[in-house]
Subunit: 109 residues, 2 copies
């Protein structure tokens, strides 16, 4: 025990949870906000920006890449990162749909 029992839930539920997990760390939020702010390919300065060790930053970048949220392009000796607008839009739509329209007249007990 200790591992999430993904088989108990629908693919959609697992997907949403997985996507939430991808942004469930302040370092990854910071990375994404920085890339969005720059709105361009960013090479190198991410480690200085975060304040975490290079290995740790690289790990977070790897997770964001695995989630599809960012792309990394090798540019000479360094690597350039940017938002993947296609996946970003998917996230936007999915979370928007998830939080859509709860009947706000909380007819609770």
């Amino acid at each position: 025990m200790g591992a999430t029992k993904t088989d108990l839930f629908t693919k959609q539920q697992n997907d949403i949870a997985q996507m939430a997990k991808a942004i469930a760390h302040p370092a990854r939020i910071a990375i994404l906000q920085y890339l969005v702010k720059k709105n361009a390919c960013v090479c190198g300065d991410l480690v200085d920006e975060l304040g975490l060790a290079q290995a740790t930053t690289s790990q977070h970048l790897k997770e964001l890449k695995a989630a599809g949220l960012i792309q990394g392009t090798i540019e000479g000796a360094s690597v350039c990162y940017c938002i993947d607008p296609k996946i970003w839009k998917q996230y936007q739509q999915l979370f928007s749909a998830f939080f859509k329209d709860v009947n706000l007249d909380g007819s609770c007990c």
Copy 2:
């Protein structure tokens, strides 16, 4: 080491990450979806609904309550749960704002 270094990031970044973490588990997604679908106070049947042990379900409900997303009202021997529409709306707005308007002309390398 092993603990998230929250002091390196802004309160906003930590908040977003924390909110994402609250929904970063398929069981919690399933609970929320069920409550939204019923759109009412739900007593008792959550354990049967999920397929997880009672203790585990209770733990997830506790986390959702801690996140503010649901309310629990004692109703006799059982407890009724429902979405907190106020906090729900906050989540909706926050994620909407976060994923807002990336310039989609991926001017990447």
